[in-house]
């Protein structure tokens, strides 16, 4: 058998030959040909050099090995937290002491009506007088 070409030997070394019979033929030749076997050994060493770089990386910190919780679990936890928080807030609101609401009355002092309106003015101290003090809406109607 003729010697295999360098490309054929490299293909054999890289295990990229598709045809099984071609592979077997090269393997058989290498077993019986010291010259090609030496060439084959050189190729192997070269491949070892190309694939043998070992760059110095930085010292790695051992990562935490706790598995990351699944997304669904995260959402579920957030929802549960929301519900619990809402329930607690509701309970606290129910138990809270509620004092009766106190609204301070607001009084306003109206200027005395002009003389033209005096006949329509109500007397101080009556119900109508109180209503007049607390509402300006009565004034336009008085103008009529």
């Amino acid at each position: 058998m003729t010697h295999p070409t360098e490309d054929a030997l490299l293909s054999f070394a890289l295990e990229v030959i598709e045809d099984p019979s071609a592979q077997e033929a090269i393997a058989a030749h290498l077993a019986g040909c010291p010259e090609c076997a030496a060439h084959w050994s050189r190729l192997q060493r070269e491949l070892g050099i190309i694939g043998g770089l070992r760059p110095r990386g930085r010292r790695l910190a051992m990562p935490g090995t706790q598995p990351r919780p699944a997304r669904a679990m995260v959402l579920l936890r957030a929802a549960a937290l929301l519900v619990v928080g809402f329930a607690l807030g509701l309970g606290a609101a129910e138990r809270a002491h509620r004092a009766p609401a106190f609204v301070a009355p607001a009084y306003m002092t109206l200027a005395p009506p002009p003389d033209s309106l005096r006949p329509y003015a109500v007397a101080e101290g009556t119900d109508a007088g109180l209503a007049l003090r607390s509402s300006r809406r009565m004034v336009p109607s008085c103008r009529r």
Binding site: L14, R42, E46, R54, P55, G57, L60, M62, G64, Q66
Partner: protein
């Protein structure tokens, strides 16, 4: 026989991984001693930045150990390599947006950084040769030699036909050999 030994090794690697996942510091040291350098190389050839490569590797281990699922069907280096590759590609895309402007003034800066982490002269020249490959060939080479992926896994990861992956790895290695031959590095 060889296959049985291989499957035992794969199972042993997963056992170490599982122990590290449960917080065993000795297993963690074993895991990083075994895979950190090659993952760093993989990330380095994709991102072309030592700082980014370090971040990618740290994040790779963090994500791998946090994972809930068991990946007994593949190998530990393949599992870690896939995470590292995806993170590195994202990092490279993010980095490209910022580095393009800088690259106008300092075209060789990133090539210098690529070799920064390698001590031996020969290693630096090999890294430079791989760094000079175009992206598609560089990525396939990095995944095959440093990611611990099979050709089938690379084809799936890159979404390209198996034949394309094989021709790319052949071309990538051939190109590296030529470059290194020119520098007198081939034995």
């Amino acid at each position: 026989m060889v296959q049985a030994a291989g499957s035992r090794e794969v199972a042993a690697a997963w056992t170490v991984f599982e122990r590290a996942r449960q917080g065993d510091a000795a297993a963690w040291r074993e895991l990083t001693a075994q895979y950190q350098a090659r993952l760093t190389a993989l990330a380095l050839f994709v991102t072309r930045s030592p700082a980014a490569a370090d971040d990618v590797v740290q994040e790779t281990f963090a994500r791998a150990l946090r994972t809930r699922t068991t990946h007994r069907s593949g190998s530990v280096p393949g599992f870690l390599g896939t995470i590292a590759y995806r993170l590195a590609v994202k990092e490279a895309q993010r980095g490209r947006r910022y580095s393009d402007i800088a690259a106008l003034d300092l075209p060789d800066e990133r090539a210098g950084q690529l070799e920064e982490m390698l001590s031996a002269e020969r290693d630096r020249q090999v890294a430079a040769a791989i760094g000079r490959l175009d992206q598609v060939h560089r990525h396939v080479l990095a995944l095959r030699f440093y990611g611990g992926h099979s050709y089938e896994e690379i084809a799936e990861l890159l979404q390209v036909p198996l034949g394309t992956v094989k021709s790319r790895i052949f071309y990538a290695v051939q190109a590296c050999r030529k470059m290194l031959s020119g520098e007198g590095l081939r034995e």
